[in-house]
Amino acid sequence: MTIVQPSGGGAAGRPSSSGGGLADVIDTILDKGLVIDVYVSVALVGIELLTINARVVVASVDTYLRFAQAVNRLDLAEGQKGLPELMQDMTQGVAKSKTKGIAQGALEAAGEKLRDFISEPAEEPAPRRRRMREED
């Protein structure tokens, strides 16, 4: 499984946002979207396209060992809820948002993640501006 993490980025104190934005983008724009014969032109144009693999899950010995480890650590005595030590950091932030409506909370969380990866405060003094409207 290849997951590309952005260097730096991510708001401090928010481990829950790791694995968010960029990973989601990679899942979406690398192997989806319109494919056309212009890719022939890419070679002609002569630009180098960095190859980044879309994320795929391939079950392996490592996967099995990790599951075995997780099962071994599992404390069956502990009830249905809780088990914070077993929960991935990643899921925590979003899990919390369940209390106020899954869809809405997740939307907000996703927005934050995207923003985290994008915001480079020093670099974007001007707000983004764009307008679209009917042209008569």
Binding site: I29, G33, L34, V38, V56, L86, A103
Partner: protein, 309 residues
Amino acid sequence: MGRSTPSPAAPGSERNAHEGRDTRQVAKVPEDAPAPEPRQGAGAPHPGQAGEAAGAAGVPGEQATASYIYGILPGDVELTPEVRGVGDPPGEIRLVRHDDIAALISDLRLNRPLGKPKDLMAHQQLLDDVASEVPVLPLRFGAVMESPEAIVRELLAPHHDEFRTALDELEGRAQYVVKARYEEGTVLREVLQEQPEASRLREEIRDLPEDATWDARIRLGEIVNQSIEAKRDADTQALAEGLAPHAVAIVIREPTHEEDAAHLAVLVETDRQDDFEEALDEFGRRWADRVTLRLLGPQAPYDFVMTQM
């Protein structure tokens, strides 16, 4: 959609999940924007507006440039140029028109490999922003042609009718991505309850050193993995069926993590978005403590433009 209410002011986008955040300004563009010339002649090199933008796309002749293509839009769209494209420094976005369709492009210098995280983010952010207002056919990341003229000649003109038809179909529709991930503790407990062998193996490896229980661990992990795969299939099916009445179309995506419960792309009528989200909330309640749901979007319809040409 933006075009149905032709107002010179910012068209109201029905739903902006990122209200108040600084990167999504499309829906609330102030009129005091120092609007540059509304349109550039296709292919004409244009100096950047200010600051870092200067030199981004305005060094004619010095550097070989090509045209990066983000997607195909209706031709009756007006775009304020912005320096937010792929490349370093980022290119200025603009439209190349042909008949009643247009390609959204930016100039790209060829002296640097393309595909860094920033490029990927820029590609999707731009397309998603555009898609919130007008129909768009998103291209897969990495489409580059040698010039705007070549885009018209080799891309827009030959495929005009297909593009036009697809754009009409996408009017008023948006893509959402639903990601569901099992809570590890909960799903492992389910597996142990349902699979006696897993339970037995767990006892077997307990308190023994790892190297003494290699085979048992592998077997245990394999059972867990298989069980989760079966659960994923069932839960994905259930989710897709539950959302189907509120969707135009659904694509089941490959999992991106071994504990994924479901990964779907859903095409939704914008005015039925509330129904869709309510249906998803229903699953959230049903799966509370078991599955974490994430909803991404609205996005450009990446998963619904796979027609080969």
